[in-house]
Amino acid sequence: MKLPLSGLLSSMLVLAPAIATAQGDGIQIENAWSRAAMQGRIGVVYLTIVDHGAADRLTGISSPVAEKAELHESFSEGGVSKMRPVASLAVDKDKPVVLAPGGYHIMLMDLKRPLNQGDAFPVTLSFANTGQVTVQVAVQRPGAAMPMHGSGMPGTKH
């Protein structure tokens, strides 16, 4: 289940042109990826929000694969790992907000179906100004540490 380093590097080299994005008015969602997970359990989504327009705010998340999706933040305090829900997240013009391991992430609760490596599933992000932006999330192996080739398939704005 390990990807050799050379494979990692080469996939990173071709990553940039392969990234497709979900576009809102000024909002783009890039590098949306997840980790394989079991039905009835929890999942995670990582992505990058890029805003080329006016400042906006992420206020809600949903996905048909989960009963509930929430924005969470992981952090470490005095050697203790903690995770807390985050009600909303400000997005400023040209300052990408990165949801990545060890920080902000979307937690999928009570998965309605298993997330299998190689699958893709939609996640809809609600922004205060832009409205809803849906992105396809690529499922990686269970402990994947970063997006792989082909992550972030085209999404649609509602």
């Binding site: 390990k2 929890i42 999942g43 992981s74 050697g79 203790v80 790992s81 937690m107 269970p142 402990g143």
Partner: protein
């Protein structure tokens, strides 16, 4: 005025001084002995780890003795942890790959701090997702409390909503290397990547 009051007050203070001195000497003796024992047992070595009884993936009883003869690489977490735990366990799995033949002498162990949700079956499936080497252990609330205490691991439930599953676990983010006799060797940094972990573990193994 002072001449008449001073002698009685001095004499009444004398026993207090004597007892105080004895107390101080005793305290120093106890502290000294404690420090001696602590140092001879390898500093914090005596303070981390100890016997435990838990449940394996098939509900079978697993104890610290089950792993005697192998180094144990012990991590505490929970399976409803979507972010940090999988990230760390992935690096542990990577470290095991990078250890090469030495990996056969190391048993990575995941111990749940969320026994309410993490049944043996769940922990088994969860561990299996990170390669064939990782073993997932859980137990009763009392068994988990006991092993966490021995390994000096803090954990606490934090509610995030009204539902039964709406809570996360705060937990000490630690990774401990224990020797083939079950004795503490050293902590391994859980934020290292697999290559760094493998180098640390390899250096610490005899």
């Amino acid at each position: 005025m002072s001449a008449s009051t001073q002698p009685p007050s001095q004499s009444s203070r004398r026993p207090a001084l004597i007892y105080g001195s004895i107390g101080l000497v005793l305290a120093l003796l106890i502290l000294g002995t404690g420090a001696f024992v602590w140092l001879t047992q390898g500093g914090t070595a005596a303070l981390v780890g100890g016997p435990f009884t838990l449940q394996g993936g098939n509900g079978q009883q697993v104890t610290d003795r089950t792993f005697r003869g192998k180094y144990m690489l012990v991590y505490f977490g929970y399976t409803f942890c979507p972010d940090v735990c999988p990230t760390t366990l992935n690096e542990v799995a990577d470290a095991m790959d990078k250890l090469g033949p030495k990996a056969d002498r190391v048993q990575p162990i995941f111990i749940s701090v969320d026994p309410k949700r993490d049944t043996p079956e769940v922990v088994k499936q969860y561990a299996a997702a990170f390669g064939s080497r990782l073993i997932g252990l859980t137990g009763t609330a009392e068994q988990i409390a006991a092993v966490a205490k021995e390994y000096r691991v803090y954990y606490a439930e934090r509610r995030t909503g009204p539902g039964p599953n709406d809570y996360s676990m705060d937990h000490s983010s630690v990774l401990y290397l224990m020797d083939p006799d079950g004795k503490f060797v050293a902590p391994i940094r859980p934020d290292e990547n697999g290559t760094e972990m493998a180098a640390d573990i390899s250096r610490l193994m005899s």
